[in-house]
């Protein structure tokens, strides 16, 4: 019983806000990389938010590995596959434990472009009147 109380106390005392400093979209650190998908996972990135689709990308020239944060997994309806080519424009937020982490703003795959954030990093899935979804050959499927 005492143990349960400690657990509850621990959970309550957890900050509901205050992500790691490196984990915001830094507009001054925008880069574009292209490479092959090495791994695809879903993992929580922000407190009290849905898990994100995370892609590990091997940069085609340097062979360096990048962790690309796409969007909440439920929001993204495109299937990625290992070995597939991907071009990402986003903010490089590497520091400390999150080495070579990229928050994606725009993803290009199989001739389609997916707009995930606006130029300031506002997430598309949070609505508003901004550009939403994909542009390219395929049309009509809402993203």
């Amino acid at each position: 019983m005492v143990a349960i109380m400690w657990i509850i106390l621990f959970l309550v005392s957890l900050p509901s806000f205050g992500q790691k400093t490196e984990n915001f979209y830094n507009v001054d650190q925008e880069i574009r990389i292209e490479g092959k998908i090495q791994n695809i996972v879903m993992e929580p990135r922000y407190k009290d938010k849905s898990p994100f689709l995370i892609v590990t990308l091997e940069e085609k020239d340097t062979k360096k590995l990048y962790t690309v944060e796409i969007s909440p997994a439920g929001f993204f309806d495109q299937d990625f596959h290992k070995g597939e080519h991907l071009a990402v424009t986003g903010s490089l937020t590497s520091s400390g434990e999150m080495e070579n982490n990229i928050i994606a703003r725009e993803v290009q795959s199989r001739g389609e472009t997916f707009i995930l954030r606006d130029k300031h990093g506002f997430p598309t899935w949070r609505g508003g009147k901004g550009l939403m979804g994909r542009k390219g050959k395929r049309k009509g499927k809402r993203f």
Partner: protein, 428 residues
């Protein structure tokens, strides 16, 4: 079925009016309306821009005040050794704060909080140049402030704040909506108002034209009347002398010449009668109105015209009492009935009368030969007659009498079926 009326329109005049209508529509309707719309739009835009600017100033002031309060509070929390995460937790419930960050004196982020995943639009470019600025986001305009403060530990910190301008946006949307509603109302009222003015102006102009035409017609008629009366008078005097001469000749001449003299005398009398009718038709009518029963009037007329083969039936709805010139109306109806009797070999003539509002509607319907369309067109013209010995004055005078009572007369006819005259006369 052919139909004739007392008045005719002129095509040329109608075309000219249609042309003026288009021009006037532009001058009296579109130009003033467009002017009002432009002025309204211009003033409204200035007003909205002014309000927007004022509200933005107010919001900025409010935000700066909020930032000042935050500085004091955060400074206090820092002195109490609260972590940046814990500090931001206190402000996480603030709906108007979209994001905030705490930075050290080197402008390195110590901690941050955002309502949106990974959204902290802080650029070093913005920091260096100004203390406050706004950015557009899909969630609306966000007011940004970046300001330094000194904590109680003497260290310099910076606070970065993104403040929602939702209330301002809502107000602008509300203002815009009100503008369009007002704009629509003004346009609607303008259309109704100017259309009304245009119609009124058009109506007055048309009436003015009619009055002018009528005045000219009257003047012309007066001139012709004076001229023809003079001629009639000049003819009548020698005719009277001629008639006396024939009478003297008839007394003095032997019997074998009397038939010829009688024929000559008859012709002179005929000419004299024509001139009398002509003079009568030219004289302006002076009405002496009185109240009388229409039924009595018809009975009097029926007594003076009899044709055995033709029956005259009179019907009325309720008692029809008229306020009119009895003598003139009697003459008008006598002319109509005589015409109907002459056109009907056998059968009946129906006369109907009824009161309708303040008018009396009279119908004279025969089952005679009827008339062609061409005849109907000219039936009320002076000196138009189908009869060999007719002078064509009767129906002209009838129309004149009815119109002098401010009434109107129409005629419908079918060849071989009969003719109907419809009279509407006020004074019921």
């Amino acid at each position: 079925m052919a139909r004739g009326e007392g008045t005719d329109g002129q095509k040329g005049e109608t075309k000219r009016q249609a042309f003026l209508k288009k021009k006037d529509l532009f001058l009296f309707f579109f130009v003033p309306l467009l002017g009002i719309i432009i002025i309204f739009f211009f003033l409204s835009s200035i007003n909205r821009a002014y309000i927007k600017s004022k509200v933005e100033d107010l919001v900025k002031e409010q935000l700066q005040a909020t930032a000042e309060i935050l500085k004091v509070n955060i400074s206090h929390f820092l002195s109490e050794n609260y972590s940046s995460e814990e500090i931001f937790r206190f402000y996480s419930g603030e709906e108007n704060i979209y994001y905030m960050a705490l930075l050290d004196d080197q402008k390195k982020i110590l901690g941050w909080h955002s309502r949106f995943e990974g959204y902290l639009p802080l650029s070093q470019k913005d920091i260096g140049e100004r203390e406050s600025w706004t950015i557009d986001s899909p969630a609306g305009k966000i007011f940004n402030i970046f300001t330094p403060f000194q904590a109680t530990d003497s260290n310099t910190y910076h606070i970065y704040l993104g403040y929602s301008l939702e209330s301002l946006e809502e107000m602008i949307i509300h203002s815009r909506r009100n503008f369009f509603i007002l704009f629509g109302i003004i346009v609607g009222i303008g259309i109704i108002f100017f259309f009304g003015i245009f119609q009124l102006q058009n109506h007055f102009r048309q009436k003015e034209k009619e009055a002018e035409t009528e005045r000219r017609e009257k003047e012309r008629y007066k001139e012709i009347s004076a001229f023809t009366s003079g001629i009639a008078h000049e003819i009548k005097n020698p005719l009277n002398s001629l008639a006396l001469l024939f009478e003297l000749l008839a007394k003095k001449m032997p019997d074998e010449f009397r038939q010829d003299i009688s024929l000559g005398s008859g012709e002179v009398k005929k000419i004299s009668r024509v001139i009398d009718h002509f003079s009568a038709s030219l004289k302006p009518l002076e009405l002496k109105k009185e109240k009388f029963s229409f039924k009595g009037l018809i009975e009097d007329i029926q007594g003076s015209i009899i044709k055995e083969e033709v029956e005259i039936h009179y019907e009325e709805e309720g008692e029809v009492v008229l306020l009119a010139d009895k003598g003139l109306l009697s003459q008008a109806l006598l002319n109509l009935l005589q015409n109907s009797l002459e056109a009907t070999d056998s059968g009946e003539i129906r006369v109907q009368a009824k009161k309708f509002r303040k008018n009396i509607l009279i119908t004279v319907q025969d089952s005679g030969k009827g008339m062609s369309e061409e005849e109907i067109k000219n039936i009320f013209d002076p000196f138009f007659s189908k009869k060999k010995d007719g002078m064509g004055i009767g129906l002209y005078l009838t129309k004149k009498i009815i119109e002098s009572h401010e009434g109107k007369i129409e005629c419908e006819s079918r060849l071989g079926k009969g003719t109907s005259f419809f009279i509407q006369i006020p004074g019921g």
